[in-house]
């Protein structure tokens, strides 16, 4: 006599069940995004009229209207964002990797203290440093330039990425450094020829997260890029909203949809590196 129901061990059934569950989760996660994409093809005043992802009255007018925001073309915002983001990525990768190498491999006085201070900067809310930074950049006459958004990236100011790369570099065998040193390499050579090539996963992670954070950043550009011709994509999207007047949701959704393309593209390119970086940096 058998008590209870026998659990299916058919591999096909189990696989189908797992995939069904994953698809269900995917639908839930992607629904807001799909709804936005659908809304971007609905007339602006019908944007909130349905929960369906299908556009009832299909139109591409939102993309046409959104691309032309006042006297400016949204391509200008994309170009601005792209320039800033790429420079930020380069700056962060170069500067943070060098800082991380120093903390991970060099011996110098007060290293631990300085490492602690560096980590401590992660505890400071952005808003605490907001005004002093603005005063500094204003005195430097950098307002309305991209310098406040780019130059700090070349000065290793993002403690999170320094920490990430320190952790990664520490996993690299010290023996490799020793071998390189025996072959005549100094720190520059060790960094350039040994550590850097082996840190590609961490560099990729840094690049990806920097790209996403910079591309989506709104407060920084809001403060420093005041003239419309300097606006980033995030500012351009904000330009469709007006809590005190009329908002243009159709064009907003259309341009927001397009704004995701660079992030998705960059992620697809860097995702393998991202996975390796997360796996080996202790972020899991």
């Amino acid at each position: 006599m058998i008590f209870g129901r026998r659990r299916s061990r058919n591999p096909l059934v189990l696989a189908l069940a797992r995939h069904a569950l994953l698809v269900a989760i995917l639908v839930v996660i992607l629904y807001p995004l799909l709804w936005m994409v659908g809304a971007s093809f609905r007339p602006s005043n019908e944007a909130f009229g349905t929960l369906s992802v299908l556009p009832g009255n299909f139109t591409t007018e939102n993309y046409v209207e959104g691309w032309s925001l006042g006297n400016l073309n949204f391509s200008r915002f994309f170009l601005n964002s792209l320039v800033i983001t790429l420079l930020a990525v380069v700056g962060n990768v170069v500067a943070c990797s060098m800082a991380a190498y120093a903390f991970a491999r060099l011996a110098f006085p007060f290293k631990k203290t300085m490492f602690g201070l560096m980590l401590g900067t992660m505890l400071l809310p952005y808003h605490v440093t907001l005004v002093p930074q603005y005063v500094l950049f204003n005195e430097l006459a950098w307002i309305n330039t991209i310098l406040p958004l780019v130059v700090p990236k070349f000065l290793a100011t993002d403690a999170f990425f320094i920490f990430l790369m320190v952790q990664f570099i520490r996993t690299l065998p010290q023996e490799l450094d020793d071998a390189a040193r025996m072959d005549g390499c100094g720190h520059v050579g060790i960094f350039r020829r040994i550590v850097l090539p082996l840190s590609i996963p961490a560099l990729g992670t840094t690049a990806l997260f920097t790209f996403i954070a910079t591309w989506n950043d709104f407060l920084g550009p809001l403060l420093y890029l005041v003239r419309p011709e300097t606006w980033t994509v995030a500012q351009g999207l904000n330009g469709f909203l007006d809590a005190t007047g009329e908002s243009a949701y159709g064009p907003l959704f259309a341009m927001a949809t397009l704004s995701l393309a660079p992030i998705v593209g960059f992620f697809l390119v860097a995702q393998r590196l991202l996975i390796e970086g997360i796996a080996t940096s202790g972020l899991k």
Binding site: Y134, V135, L241, E246
Partner: protein, 442 residues
Amino acid sequence: MFTRSLSAGALALGLLATGCAGGTSIGANPNEGATGTGEVAGNVRMAWWGSGPRNEVTNAVIDLFKAAHPGTTVEGESADFQAYFERLNVQASSGNMPCVTQMQGRQLNDYTTKNVLLDLQPMIDAGTIDVSAVPAEVLDTGRGLDGKLYMIPYGAAYDAMTVNRTLAEQAGVGLPPEGYDWNAFADWVTRAQPGLPEGIPAVNLGGSLPNNFISYAAGRGESLFADRQLGFSEDLLVEFWDMWERLRAAGVTTTAEATAEEPNQTEQRYVAQGRVLVDNLPGNALTPAQKTLDGTRPGQQLVTLPQPTGPAGPGNVLFTSGFSIPTTCDNIPTAAAFVDFWMNDDAAAKAFLSANGAVTNTRHLQQQLDDPDLPALKHAELDLYQRIVSQKPVSVVYPPGYHASFEGAFVRAYESVAFGGTSTRDAARAFMTEVNAALATT
């Protein structure tokens, strides 16, 4: 619904206090008593909030000004309302406010009490800025706690009961009677509910909406603030919340949960979506709200009414936007000339077309109302404003910290009633204690 406003307000206070307390370039007023006279030339920065449509009309006025004053340039700085003040607070703390800074009455004294704005009366006295066409009650909304004029109000918004006329007629109740008070309003929504479609409440729950209470207090002749403290009685607030609790209990309002979740953008408000019969909306929101309703509920029509009256008179209070000139401005003559141009130039007023509340210059207002090409909805907005101003609405001077302390606490206090079961008496007492303590420290 007010979370973003609360966070923005709190951020504003924190940043401003931090920046000013830290001893930035804001200090003694180098331009105190400035009359604004001098050569109108060079560059000024101008800041305003808004989106694409408003940016276009603002830039149109800028172009007119530059044409009228060759040799001048104006750099525009715009952002959405919340983003605008986030940036402005940093600029103020850093001594870098634009020479022509758009301001609103409810935030004005966050700045005036920090010595960052000029008293504009000397410019008026010198004839640099002409405000003779602006009603006194409207002009007074630009005053600080010290009575000085820190903002020239150019656009006046007001609250309006926005009614879905179509639903009201279907319910068989029509519109509330002329000069209706809150009792008549409550009776009207109660009578309307049975005739409304299933799932459509008569009124958006308004107990957590500060503007409803501001209107309620005005109609009863009680001051909102006095000597930087709350100026109304605890009993008044209890009475107000009891009214809304009775309506909620009667099942004629949205649920507290639904109200709390309602976005604050006009196009997403329930009345604009056809999901409620009536709600308090800014009067100048009629056009975008109707436009949205045309998409979601074709054929339904919105109409705006004055706020309910009270024993002391009308319940409407104006919420004005205008221009201020910071103490750090390095080109006051051009800034003053720009403000004067904006306020008085006919072509400029026509170009802007009351895009941020009704134009406060009465001559321009009449010109716009007389224009046969004025869109019907805009005409309705301006006509209602003209009726409200003719009744000489009370002017409210908001103390510094109003936005962060009053509005945030008001929402929390009522939600403690609606969600937490707190009595209205206890909630009112806690609210007044909290707000008075906060105001005392700003």
